[in-house]
Point group: C2
Chain length 288, copies 2
C-alpha cells in the first residue's frame, strides 16, 4: 500500500480567505467558529503570546526596511457591523506592536471637505508610509455599504465603485502595499447583547446614538450589501478574509495570525549597516 504524505496544516489565511469573485453567503459561516484553533480559548491564549512576539519582530523589520529605502507597507482594512469589534481589534492586536510603526485612521461620517472630493480622496490621504502598518477602522467600503443601505447615494453612484475600488487597490499592491481586508463577522444576537451592554455602561454612552439601533434594525440589508462588496471586491491580489467575531479571543488571535502570515510572506531581512563595526567599536572604546 502506498504511503501518503500528510498534508501540511492550512494557514490561517487559507482557512479564512474568501474565494475571489465567488458568491458569498455569510449565513453559511459560523460567527462563533474558531477555524485553526484546537484546544479552545486557553490554547489560543498561549499561541497569542507567541504570535505577539513574532508580530513585534516582523513589524520592526518592516519599519527598518522602510527607513532604509524599502517600499513595503501593510494596510489592514477592518470592516464589520457596528459592535463587531473593530475598535477592540485595534486596541488588542495593534496594541502588541510599537506605536511608532502603526498609523490608525478611523473613518466616520465624511466632513464637508471630504464630500467635495471623490470617495477615495480621504482614504488616500491616510495610507501608511513605507515601513508602517496602517489600519483603517472602517474604510472606502463604507461607500458601497452604508451609503447604499441608508440610501444616501443612488445606485448609479455606488455601483461603479466596486470596479473603482478594485483598480485602486491593485495600484496599492503594485506599489508594494500588502492590502489585508478583514470582515469581522458577528451574529445579530451577539450584536444585540453588545448594544444592550453599551446602554448599561455610562462610560460608553458617548459613542452611542439611536442611529446605531436604526442600523441594527437594517441587519439584513447590511448583510446583503456586504455580501456583494465581499464578492465584487475580492480579488486574487487583494482578497477578503472573514474572521468569526462573536468570540473576542478568537477574533484577536485570528487577526494577529493573519498579520503574522502576511508579514512573514514579505521575507524581510534586517538591513545591513554601512560602516566598519570594528573601527567604530575601537573609537568608542578608546575615547576617555
Amino acid at each position: 500500500m502506498a504511503k501518503h504524505k500528510k498534508a501540511p496544516a492550512p494557514s490561517v489565511s487559507e482557512l479564512l480567505r474568501l474565494v475571489p469573485a465567488e458568491p458569498v453567503d455569510l449565513a453559511g459561516i459560523d460567527p462563533r467558529g474558531t477555524p485553526g484553533v484546537t484546544g479552545g480559548k486557553g490554547a489560543a491564549g498561549d499561541a497569542q503570546q507567541e504570535l505577539a512576539v513574532q508580530l513585534a519582530d516582523l513589524q520592526e523589520r518592516l519599519y527598518a526596511s522602510g527607513r532604509t529605502g524599502g517600499q513595503r507597507r501593510v494596510l489592514l482594512v477592518l470592516q464589520g457591523m457596528d459592535t463587531s469589534g473593530k475598535g477592540g481589534t485595534v486596541r488588542h492586536v495593534l496594541g502588541q506592536v510599537d506605536p511608532q510603526g502603526v498609523t490608525v485612521a478611523a473613518f466616520g461620517r465624511p466632513t464637508e471637505e471630504e464630500l467635495h472630493h471623490d470617495f477615495l480622496w480621504r482614504v488616500e490621504r491616510r495610507l501608511p508610509p513605507a515601513g508602517s502598518i496602517g489600519v483603517f477602522d472602517r474604510s472606502h467600503y463604507e461607500d458601497v455599504v452604508v451609503t447604499r443601505v441608508r440610501g444616501l447615494v443612488p445606485r448609479s453612484t455606488w455601483s461603479p465603485r466596486f470596479g473603482i475600488i478594485n483598480r485602486w487597490e491593485e495600484r496599492l499592491v503594485d506599489e508594494g502595499c500588502t492590502v489585508l481586508k478583514v470582515f469581522l463577522h458577528i451574529s445579530r444576537e451577539e450584536s444585540r447583547r453588545r448594544l444592550l451592554a453599551r446602554l448599561d455602561d455610562p462610560r460608553k454612552h458617548w459613542k452611542f446614538s439611536g442611529d446605531d439601533i436604526d442600523d441594527w434594525g437594517r441587519w439584513d440589508a447590511y448583510t446583503d450589501a456586504y455580501e456583494e462588496a465581499l464578492r465584487r471586491c475580492g480579488t486574487e491580489r487583494s482578497p477578503w478574509y472573514v474572521v468569526p467575531a462573536d468570540r473576542k479571543w478568537y477574533r484577536n488571535w485570528a487577526v494577529t495570525a493573519l498579520l503574522v502570515e502576511h508579514l512573514t510572506a514579505l521575507g524581510l531581512e534586517w538591513p545591513a549597516g554601512t560602516f566598519d563595526v570594528a573601527a567604530e567599536r575601537a573609537r568608542l572604546l578608546t575615547a576617555p
Copy 2:
C-alpha cells in the same frame, strides 16, 4: 506639643520638574536615580501595572472628550542624547494605551521641503488632534541643540528660537494642549555601553552610523546646549521634566506616572449620552 500633619508625598511631577528659568546643572542630577520609587525595580513593576490601567482609562476619557467637542490634547515631547531611550519610551509607555488615540511623530534630519519653511512648520503639522496623545520623538528642540552643536546654523539663527519656542508653546497651552516636555537623562558611560551593544547586534545596524559616535564624542557640547534649552524654555506653563534614564524600568515608570498625573489634572469626565436609555433598550429587546 502640637501635632504636625504629615506632608503628603510629592507627586512625580514635583520631583522631576525643573524650576522654570533657573540655571540647570545636569551633572547634579543622578542618571541612575529613582526619585519617587521606594522598593526598587520589583516594586516599580507592580506600580507600573496599576499605572497602566489608570493611563488606559484616562486616555479613553481624553479620546471620548475629543469625540464630543472637547479641545483637550496632550503633547509629550521626548528629548535626550542618542541612546537615551526615546524609542523605547514610545514602545513601552505609549504601547500601554489604545493605538487609536496616540499619534507618534519622529523628527529626523529635515527634508528639502521642511528646510524651506521655518523650523516650527514641520512640528506644527504633526500636532495631535483634540482627544489624542501626541508624541514627539525629538522635536523643535533639535533646532536649538543639534543645529547648534554641529554648527549647522549661526548663533544669530538659533539664539532667537528660545523665545519663539516659548511663545509657540504658550499658544498651544492656551488652546487646550498639555505640553509635557521630558528630557531623558542618561550618563555618558551608559550611552557608551548602549552604543557598543548596538554594534554587537546586527538587527540594530540599520539605525546606526558613524555620526552617532561623532555626536557621542561631543557629549559636553550637547550637555551645554541642553542645559541652556532647558533653562530658557522651562516656563511655568510649560516646564521641563528631567527623567533619570540609565535604568530603563525607572524611565518607563516615571514617564507613565507623568502622563497619569497630567491627564488626571484635566479632570475629564465621561461625556453623557444624548438619547433615552430606556427607550433604546426597549427597541432592542422588542425587535424580533
